[in-house]
């Protein structure tokens, strides 16, 4: 299993790096798709099958297709994105790297947590998931539906072409 973990982590991190460093946005999208598939693999390792499948449906099936679609619509292949100056990059590396250092230090000092004995391999399956979602998490579930409605309406209003008011 540790081999699978290393493989998936390597793929995820390499493709995440490629997302940030590749010049053309379409390559970024392709690498992001690979990264998301590797993360779905991690979910399966962590015994969350339902989450893995939802992750694939939402991210690779919907969001990434949307991104590809928009990149094609706006014709962004020119790779003429002006790069930021060196000091901006240095500042980004230093600020991000300090956060990385702090977090890694915190993670390293965490006591090793032993494998929990109460482990139940059936818990991440869809039946249990649904039962808990519709009992304990009913309110956030309904709230997220309102969120989606507002997102749909917002996207429609923003994306609609403004009427040209022509003075006849």
């Amino acid at each position: 299993m540790i081999f699978l973990f290393y493989l998936l982590s390597g793929v995820a991190l390499l493709s995440a790096l490629m997302v940030v460093f590749s010049r053309s946005p379409i390559n970024s999208v392709i690498h992001l798709i690979i990264c998301f598939l590797a993360i779905a693999g991690h979910y399966i390792l962590l015994n969350a099958q339902f989450l893995a499948v939802v992750h694939i449906i939402v991210y690779t099936g919907a969001i990434m297709v949307l991104f590809l679609f928009v990149i094609m619509l706006l014709n962004l292949n020119k790779e003429n994105e002006p790069h930021k100056k060196l000091y901006t990059k240095l500042a980004a590396i230093i600020s991000g790297g300090m956060l990385l250092l702090v977090l890694t230090g915190a993670v390293k000092s965490v006591a090793l947590i032993p494998f929990n004995e109460k482990f139940d391999s059936q818990i991440g399956l869809v039946g249990n998931f649904g039962k808990i979602l519709f009992n304990e998490f009913m309110l956030p579930f309904e709230a997220s539906s309102v969120l989606f409605l507002s997102a749909i309406i917002g996207a429609m209003i923003l994306g609609k072409k403004e009427k040209i008011t022509n003075n006849e």
């Binding site: 299993m1 995820a12 946005p25 979910y43 991104f67 090793l112 929990n116 998490f137 997102a151 429609m156």
Partner: protein, 105 residues
């Protein structure tokens, strides 16, 4: 299936991914790539939630639901952000952050 993998490994993975996302967020100028960096950051947090849930409270599903709602919010956010990006492109003929430097009215 996580026998033999310490929790720290997952935490380090998600920390690295978080860092990569922040670096991309700060250095890129293309709005779509910035949005992708945000998605990377969100996903690194998701891994943390599921890993903590699986190692600390394997008989409960709280972390899974956090992840589920984060995915839902990310979907909504991406849709609205893309609508905004298309609008910016219409007005400025470019989606670089620095070109969108004036208010319309």
């Amino acid at each position: 299936m996580t026998e033999g993998i310490p929790l720290n490994y997952f935490l380090i993975l998600s920390t690295l991914m978080f860092f990569i996302g922040i670096y991309g967020f700060l250095t890129r100028r293309n709005l779509i790539t910035i949005l992708m960096s945000v998605e990377l950051i969100l996903n690194s947090v998701n891994i943390n939630f599921v890993a903590f849930n699986n190692y600390l409270y394997p008989d409960r599903l709280q972390g899974h639901f956090f992840t589920l709602f984060i995915i839902a919010v990310a979907a909504a956010e991406a849709a609205v952000a893309i609508a905004i990006i298309i609008n910016i492109y219409r007005n400025f003929k470019s989606i670089n952050v620095e070109d969108a430097n004036e208010m319309k009215y």
